[in-house]
Every structure is written in structure tokens, then in C-alpha cells.
Amino acid sequence: MTGRGPPGWMEGLLRRVVPEEDRDAITGDMAELYAVRERRQGRLRATLWYARNVVRFVVAVPLTGMRGNVRGTGGGIMGGWRMELTRAARRLRRAPVFTAVSVLTIGVGIGAFAAIYGVVESVLLEPPPYEEPDDLLWIWRDYWFDLDRGWLGGPDIAMLREQTDAFEGVAAFRSDELNLTGRDGAAPQRVRATVASADVFDLLGVAPALGRGFQPGEDTPGAPAVAVLGHALWTTAFGADPAVLGTDIYLNGEPTTVVGVAPKGLHFVVHSSLGSPSPEGDLWIPLRADLASLDPHAGSFAGLARVRDGASPAQVESAIDAVGRELDAIFRNRGLEMWGVGLQEDLVGGVRPALVSLLGAATLLLLILGANLTALLLGRAIRRDRELALLSALGAGRARVLQSLLSESLLLGLAGGAVGVAIAFAGADLIRSIAPAGLPRRMEIAVDASVLTTAALVTLVMSLGAGLLPALRALRDAAAQRLREGGTRSGAGRTGARTRSALVVIQVALSLVLLVSSGLITRAFVRLLTADPGFDGRDALTVTVTLDPNRYPEDGDVVAFDTRFRAAVSALPGVERVGATDALPLTALAGQTGMRFPGAPGNTGVDEEDHPLIDYMVVTPGFMDAAGMRLLEGRRIDEADELEGAPVALIDDLLARRFFANGSALGSPLLIGDDTLTIVGVVDQARHYSVQADDRYQVYLPLSLNATASLRYVVAGAGDPTRLVPDLRRILDGIDPTVPLTDAGTLQGLIEQSLGRERLSLTLLSVFAAAALLLAVLGIYGVVANQVTQRTHEMGVRMALGADRSGVLRLVLGQGARLTVWGTVLGLLAAVAASRVLVGVVAGVDPRDPVVYAGVALTLAAVTLLAAWVPARRAARIDPTEALRAE
């Protein structure tokens, strides 16, 4: 198979450099060699080879004295540039400090910008890796209470599938956790499964890397169990062995035939109803259920629809509305709604404010660095004034002078861009590793060709833009005047100095914006980190123990396991309290159901209001103590409740206030479906979704009422609790070695994990702000120091005329202070405007927080004055006689 030939722009470059008479022969021969290379080594190697050899032509042909381009202006300009670039390179080598500082300045700016842009592009801009992703919609519904994304019931999916005018297909999804074991049940591994209807791969338009996807009928009840392995799991657990196809793996003990392997890079993220995307699955299994016959009240699925080609948005909307009305009728017309959201929008909508503001911060940093670079180049141009003036005087045209100045910034841009790309690659790796698992499409974050192209463009604009100001200045001033000005030190380069001062003011102002932003985010973050999560046991160990339902079929089996395990763990030295739940705080794993409180004083008589959706979790004795949850009234769940399956429940303070505002809830009934429980205690709510106050109600039940396969144990005791993990594994081995022990962590870890997105924003913003502050300080130091050097003579005169040292100190410091004050005032105004963007980034940001504004302004003032003080002291130490003699 032949490819598309060498990249067109490289071929175009080649055509430009080779002599006209050989142009067709050489490009043809090179294309031929490219084809040979591509056949032997693949396109990438061939392209690299081609690029390398085009460069050789570019370098070698002019050296032979052959005229590359058509004679005339084109060749002349190219020739002039080549010469100027060679000279500029030589000049830059002679000024290593200036060159290094400039290259680093560009590199840091471009690197930070490109890394963040890479994230934004991968997460927000890049279409998901499915066929025509714009035609994919998530479909959600609400219940008789509002939800951002409510799961669909099985019949909802069946009804949507009947809307064939609007949809090509509708797939149902849910995620599940399963135990993956070998044939003998040994080496248990916890895997996340995406459970989906059989049409899922067709719907996404994704072909498996190996084997096949699901076939129609494999998602019907009683169909033989099959699985498609995710690429990562296939690689890690099966050594990427193709022979795994057709063999059986054991999922929760059930033999399951591997029929395919998903392609690498298929990161499918199911959006959970709770607003955060659930992590990518390790494998795919078909949903073996008859959707139409499932209970319409039990919302369990995310629905993904592919819009039929040619269906109008109005058609799609009316199809969804029609199903919504049918659904509402089933629920006795309580005003239920159903709606569709574009797949990409649904996934990333929540992180957009954070990413956009980070990109804004990176752009600010880039602007600061641009101002800094301009100042550097300007300083350099001023030092070259004489040389340039001489050049003009000797008859060099404006174009030559411009070329001479711009070629330096072009070279600096080239080197800086290379450094920037290296920083961007490292930065993207770093961001990927510190990004929270909840960041959608996290694994796709990368610096790719389009990021590099953007970075290259930005570099070009930045380096040429920064070089333009000095170049224009050089052109504007008459050559003769510059010869004069360059000829004497005193009062030299006033125009240049003014421009540099303006640039410093800009830098100070922009730094202040970044510092204020990072300060506001820090304050909000600290508030979140130290907010009361409703439990005190931050240091307690958490682990997940998952029981295979085939081995523990009865509720009593689970309870017996829990009793035995807790007894053994309590006996460990150093362990003080231990207990389990099915949904730890801040994990959003709780189940939800409607409950009633018959006879409670808080009932309003309106059915919807008196039948709220409540998060419920089971707890075993000891859990509340181990997690440090606070009992406000009544008693905890005890051993007798667990063993006897007592119909008791604890409610949280929110529910107590809502239904039992003026009395005690203890002893009152609680209705779940047809079951009546008795409220025996009231607890302080342990936050389940966010460390800020949750507004959802909570109910705690004994394990025996709702025995669960996934038990999440909390172990509290003296010392570092994580050291207990091997002991816990040993105890498990004694009870049942097939039970996996996973997710070891601490409750504090859960708090931090729940703040992962905020932490990422905070970390990056702080890095940018620190870089900006450093640059502002260097900028002020540079300008003031330069002024001191240029005004040495003037200082000498002043001192000779009787000015004292403190007067000189004040004079020079005043200059730095003026820059600081201007920068601070402008920066504060800009920061007030910019801070509004931050409100969506971290919950609880107060964009007017006076402490932050005042603190940042004072810090910046102090630090920049310090930067001015260093050269000011030097000025004050000037020996007048020396200074005058030097002139």
C-alpha cells in the first residue's frame, strides 16, 4: 500500500531551495525515496527522514553557491535573512546571560501555556473517540424531586428505542464492581465493569481491537456470559495475550467467555446521576435484562442515544418529550421530565469554568513573560544603539535594521519554543498525575500535534511581538539623534526607559491579578479543607472488602462475615474502634429512595413534599464511633440490631429539623415502601457529596436490613492506621482468602480526594502566581538598576552639590515605588474584574475578600520595594568624585 506521499509543506520548502531547473527532478526523486522508506519503516520514520533531508538541502544547497530561488527579490530577502540570522546567532553566543534569560523566559511561558492548553484541548475541545460524537446524546430524567441527571428506568430505554425517526439506537449503561478471579477463585482482583446493552459498540461506532463486540441477543436474560476486556486490563492482567479470546474468566465466580478486547484509548466514561463521571471501566459486559419489563420506578441506567442522520433537533426534542409524557403518565402525572444533553457537553460542562480560568491564568503568565521579554530586548536594543546607528549611517536600509533586530528575537523564539515544548511535555505528565480521578478524560491529557502547532504560533507571535517594539523604536528615531544619544551616558535612552517602566507597570499589574486569583482560591480551599465534614475520625483507616454474592448468598452470610471480621480486627493491638458501611462519607455511593414519616409534625399534607428522596446507607456497630460521627440523640446501631435484623433506623439532623422540629424523633415510625422502621437515634450529618453542607437527607440502617456485597470498613486506633493493612489481609485469609481487600486509605484522604479538582486549580494557579511575582521583582530590579547605572553621573553631581545619601536613596526608591503604585492600582482594578471568573472554580470563593486584596497588595509592594532597594543602596554609596571622573 502506498501512502499519501511526503507532507506537502515540507515538499514546498524543498521546492523553494533547489534550483529551478532541478526542482521537479529532485522533488520527484525525494518522493520516490520517501515511498521506499515508508514501505520499509512506516510513515513516521519516513516523514522524519524526509524532514531531516529537506533540512540538509536547505543548509547545503546555498553553501554551494547555487541560487535556490528565482533571481530577484525573493532570493534577496531570503539571502538577507540567512545572513542576518547567522550574525544574530553569533551575537547571542557572545551574550550568554541575556540569551539564557530570554530563552528561559520564553520557554517557561510557552511551556506553561502549552501544557494547560493541552489539558483544555484534550478535555474540552477534542471530540471524544467515537464515530460522529456530535450525534450522541445522554438522556436523563428527573423524579418528583429535581435532579441534574436522574437515571432512566428500563422501560424508559425501551420507549426511547421506539422513537426510530429520531434515534438510530439507544444504549443502556450502568457501572458495576466485580471480583475477577482465576478458575480456582484465587488472586481476587476488583474490576470496574461497564454493563451495557448489546448495541453499545455499534452505537459508539467503535470496533474492538481484537475479537468482536457484543452480538444481538447477548443482552437478554439467561444469555451465556460474555465479556469484552478493556485494553488496559488485557495488558496488565492477561499480558496482552491474544490467546485470551475464547477462554473463560471468572466474574463474581461466574465463568464468562472473553469475546473481544476494546481498542486502546477507548476511555468510556459513564456520567453518574450524581453529577460526577464514574471512572473508566476495566471491562465491558452485556446487561442481561429485558429492559421493557423492569420496574419503571427503579432508575438504574444512563441512556445514550445516537441521533438518526437527518433528524432535526426539533424532531429529537419532540421524541424525547413524547417519551417523557408517557413516563409522566406512568407516575400519575407528577410533572416528570426527560431531556437530552450532548455527550461531550454533559461530560465536561462541570469542569469548564476551572479549565477556562486556568487557561486564562496561563495566558496572563504568557503576557507577563511577553512584557518581560520586550523589556529584555528593549534593553538590548538600547545597548546596540550605536551599532545600529552606524549601520544606518553607512547606508543600510530600514529593512536591514529591522531584519537585524527581529532575527535575534526570532532565534530566541526558536530556542525558547524548544525549551517550552520540553516543559509542556513534562507539565502535561505532571498534570495528568496530579489531576483528580474525577476529571473527565483525564487519561487523554497529552501534548499532541495541534497543541504543538498552537505553541509554535504563540511562540512566533510572542517573540516577534516582543521584538517589534524595540525594532520600531529603532526605526522611528533618526539615526543621527541616536548616534548623539548613544554617545553620552547621561540622560541616555529616555524613550527606552519610559517604555521599560511602562512594561514593568504592566508586569506588576498582571502579577497582581494572578496573585489575587491564587489568593482567593487558596482561602476558599483552606475553608473547604478545614470545614467540618460532620465526622471527627480523619485519621481512621478505610478499606473495602467485597464479598462474592455466590459465596455469600444470604443476608445472614454477610452479617456472619462482618461479625467475625470485626471481632478479629478489634482484637488487633492498637485497634480501638472498627465498623463498616456500604457508602463512606464523601464518596457519593449511597442509595436513594423515597421515605415517609407518618404522623411526624413536619408533614405538610402535600404528598411530594412529605415523601422526600433520602440517601440511605447501612452501618455496622462501631462504624459511627470509628468514623467519629456525632450522636445527637438516642442510641447507635448495636450488635443486637445487626444480629436480629431489628427494624430500626437513625436519621440525620436535617431530617430531624424538617419533620420533628419541635420535639423528639425517637420512637417515631419511618416508612420505606411498605416497611416500617423505628427511629432510635439522630446523628450529625456526615457529608456525603461535598465537605460543604449537603442539602440531602440521610438515613442509617443496620446491615441486616440491606446486606451489601461491598463493605467499607473504618478502623480507628492509636498510631498510623495504614500499618494495619497487612494484619487485615492476614485476618481475611483466615476467614476467606478469595475476598479482595482494596482501596486502603484514610477518611482524611477521602476529604482530600473530594477536593482534587480544586487542588489542581490551586496548585497550577499558585505556580503561575509565584512565577509572575518573581518576574515582577526581576523587572523592577532591572529597571531601577539600569537607571542607577545610567544616572551615576547625575547622582555624583547631586552629591557633590550637597545632596546627602538618604536623599539619593529616597530618589531611587521613589522611582521603584512609583512603578509599584501604578502597577498595584491597575492590577487591583483588573483583579476585581477577573475574580468573577473564579466563582465557579472552587465552591465558596469570595471574589471581594478584602483580606486577600490587601494582603497581596502589601506583599507585592514590600517585595518590589525590596527589589528597588538593592540598586538604591548602590546609588547611595556612589562616590561623587569617582562618578564624575568616570564621565
Partner: protein, 105 residues
């Protein structure tokens, strides 16, 4: 004439009617086992032609008259004489050293 130019000249000779820059590059790579830069071959060919050692003509390949025209090179008698002379010099320099430099010893 430098060593590389000499190698290019030998390749042109060996390729006969089929000597154009791409075929020369591939021939040299095959015989020397090293990557050869087309730009270097091109420059060497230009030099050789400037010195009257080779001549060239744009024409389609003999086997497929409708094909892409290529610049084909031919070694002139002067070039053959140059190669002979350089070989003679080499042989003289090698004389008596065979035993010392024989490979595998």
C-alpha cells in the same frame, strides 16, 4: 575528487541507463550499509557535472516512456579515466600490504 564523489561516480557507472539521484542514493546505501543524504548526492552530481566528469539529461525512464521525467546521469570518458587513475593510485599504495591488512587475520 573526494571519496564521496568517487563513490557516486562508481554508482552512476554501475547503474548504467538507470542512474538518477534516487537510484544512486539507494545503490550507495545498499553497498555501503550507511544512510546517504540525497542532498549530498545531489551536490556531488552537480560538481561532477560542472567538472565535465558526467553529463545529464531530463528524460522519462526508458522502460516506461510515459513515466515521470528524471535527470539521468552518464559518466563521460574523462570520468572513466579519473576512476582508472584513482584505482591505479590505490593499487600502488596497497602494493605489498595485502598480507598485513587481509581481513580475518
Amino acid at each position: 575528487m573526494g571519496e564521496f564523489e568517487q563513490q557516486v561516480l562508481l554508482a552512476v557507472l554501475r547503474l548504467g541507463d538507470d542512474a538518477y539521484s534516487a537510484s544512486i542514493v539507494l545503490e550507495l546505501e545498499e553497498r555501503t550499509g550507511r544512510e546517504v543524504a540525497p542532498a549530498a548526492v545531489y551536490i556531488a552530481l552537480r560538481r561532477l557535472e560542472e567538472n565535465g566528469v558526467t553529463t545529464s539529461a531530463m528524460r522519462p525512464p526508458k522502460q516506461e516512456p510515459a513515466g515521470r521525467p528524471r535527470r539521468y546521469f552518464r559518466v563521460e570518458p574523462a570520468g572513466v579515466e579519473l576512476l582508472r587513475e584513482s584505482r591505479r593510485q590505490l593499487v600502488r599504495l596497497w602494493d605489498g600490504l595485502d598480507a598485513l591488512l587481509e581481513e580475518g587475520v
